[in-house]
């Protein structure tokens, strides 16, 4: 059972190798001439001012939280969807009750303006 996952582990390692090898090659083959101007952050020719890690809009944070909620919902839907053909009407109705409760939350956040980006 677990042996079926061995090629996947191997593939992930190969994927990392495909990432590491070109960077190593590039670092070896390319020139290396550091320069304070070249290594400073790009700002369209201006001197960099302020910290680059500035305050950002709280809505990005809100989207991240809402994403976690809905992604969790998808995680709950997966096992249900896989066996929907076998669990019949009872299984279907129970999930509809669960979805209805979540839709109430979705409508609430919509009305509250959490999805507005004007």
């Amino acid at each position: 059972m677990l042996a079926e996952y061995f090629p996947i582990l191997l593939f992930i390692l190969v994927g990392l190798a495909v990432g590491v090898i070109p960077v190593v090659l590039g670092a070896l083959l390319g020139p290396h001439r550091p320069d304070p101007e070249k290594n400073s952050p790009y700002e369209c020719g201006f001197e960099a001012f302020e910290d680059a890690r500035m305050k950002f809009d709280v809505r990005y944070y809100l989207v991240a939280i809402l994403f976690i909620l809905f992604d969790l919902e998808i995680a709950f839907l997966f096992p249900w969807a896989a066996v929907l053909g076998e669990i019949g009407l009872f299984g279907f109705v129970s999930m509809m009750v669960f979805l209805a409760i979540l839709v109430v939350g979705f409508v609430y956040e919509w009305k509250k303006g959490a999805l507005e980006w004007e």
Binding site: R53, I74, L84, L115
Partner: protein, 364 residues
């Protein structure tokens, strides 16, 4: 056939040399490694030539010729580009978090490649025929956002930071649409195994008459196909959803500080992801390796050829979209993801679920 006989000889050889304990394990390692190389090498070639095909196709659409200087018809252009990038300096910005800065492009390309482990290329031809295939694909396509956000944070540059914030919010929003669309596919297929999902599309009223293409998921799940494909375009940050890179406003976003091979990896990852999303669209909605009509003429092309043809058409659609549509505004992107796709997919889950409870259920 011959390949199986060869593999059996290999297994016997490995067992006789290394003993019953280490022999089969070594055999497993060697065959898996060979299979992986057989996937990754052609894939990287496809990625290289997809960049050329993109420039050619968009050139033709704009009544230009496209690259035509390097080799006949510009066919050596991707190789020239690769060699050029290889000999460029890999710049490490002074303010950057060095380790994370180098790690980010690698985290970008790894999931774009590793997700291919569960893709069925033809009947019985799949590297890891696992039961949790769809879950694995979703996990790895979600992983792509790490490369972008780590790059944006580690670069310590304002444009990179803005690009990373935009992309994180955009990618997670469209992941929901994609996830819900796949839940519907899962409902009608009843299995997380991608080969089973393909096989399930070969059954039904039309398929029994030989008209397989009418039994594929695209017809009963057409809205989900649209949601999945458009979310795929947004997920790979392609035009018209490319505000993440937005060259006319935030000059390439998270990639701005990268140069040489570290930049090339982001580029490769984007194109590898495009091919991956196209392949998954073909597998989930267009019957994977199945021929559209079960007849001697259509079966002349082997199953792998059909998958390749479908993927080619869908990938070209990505390029066509880029040539046609102007870039969306960020608020429009978020509105499409949250206010249109999520309600639409939720309604379709309820609709298909209810349909499956009726006597007219076509997915028994």
């Amino acid at each position: 056939m011959n390949v199986t006989a060869l593999l059996d000889t290999l297994l016997a050889f490995s067992e006789s040399k290394l003993g019953p304990l280490w022999g089969p394990a070594t055999y497993e390692l060697v065959t898996s490694a060979v299979f992986i190389v057989l996937i990754v090498a052609p894939l990287m070639l496809c990625v290289a030539y997809l960049t050329l095909w993109e420039r050619k196709l968009i050139g033709w659409m704009q009544i230009r010729i496209g690259p035509n200087r390097v080799g006949p018809l510009g066919l050596l252009q991707p190789i020239a580009d690769g060699v050029k990038l290889l000999f460029k300096e890999v710049i490490l910005p002074t303010n950057a978090n060095k380790a994370l800065y180098i790690l980010a492009p690698m985290l970008g390309i790894m999931p774009a490649l590793a997700a291919w482990a569960v893709v069925p290329f033809a009947p019985e031809v799949v590297l890891a025929d696992i039961n949790a295939g769809l879950l694995y694909v979703i996990a790895l396509t979600s992983f792509g956002v790490y490369g972008v956000i780590i790059a944006g944070w580690a670069s310590n540059s304002k444009y990179a930071f803005l690009g990373a914030m935009r992309s994180a919010a955009q990618m997670v929003s469209y992941e929901l649409g994609m996830g819900f669309a796949l839940v519907v596919v899962l409902m009608v297929s009843g299995s997380l195994n991608l080969s089973d999902i393909v096989n399930a599309q070969g059954r039904g009223l039309f398929a029994s008459k030989g008209l397989h293409f009418l039994s594929w998921n695209w017809l009963p799940l057409a809205p989900m196909l649209l949601v999945y494909f458009i979310s795929g375009v947004a997920e790979t940050n392609r035009a018209p959803f490319d505000v993440v890179e937005g060259e006319s406003e935030i000059v390439a976003g998270h990639m701005i500080e990268y140069s040489g091979m570290t930049f090339a990896l982001f580029f490769l990852a984007e194109y590898a992801n495009m091919i991956l999303i196209s392949t998954l669209t073909a597998v989930m909605f267009f019957g994977g390796w199945q021929a559209p009509i079960d007849s001697a003429l259509f079966n002349l092309l082997p199953p792998f050829g059909w998958l390749l043809a479908k993927v080619f058409v869908i990938v070209s659609l990505f390029l066509w979209i880029r040539a046609t549509f102007p870039r969306y505004r960020y608020d429009q992107i978020m509105r499409l993801g949250w206010k249109i796709f999520i309600p639409l997919t939720l309604v379709w889950i309820v609709f298909v679920g209810a349909w499956m409870q009726t006597p007219w259920n076509i997915w028994k």
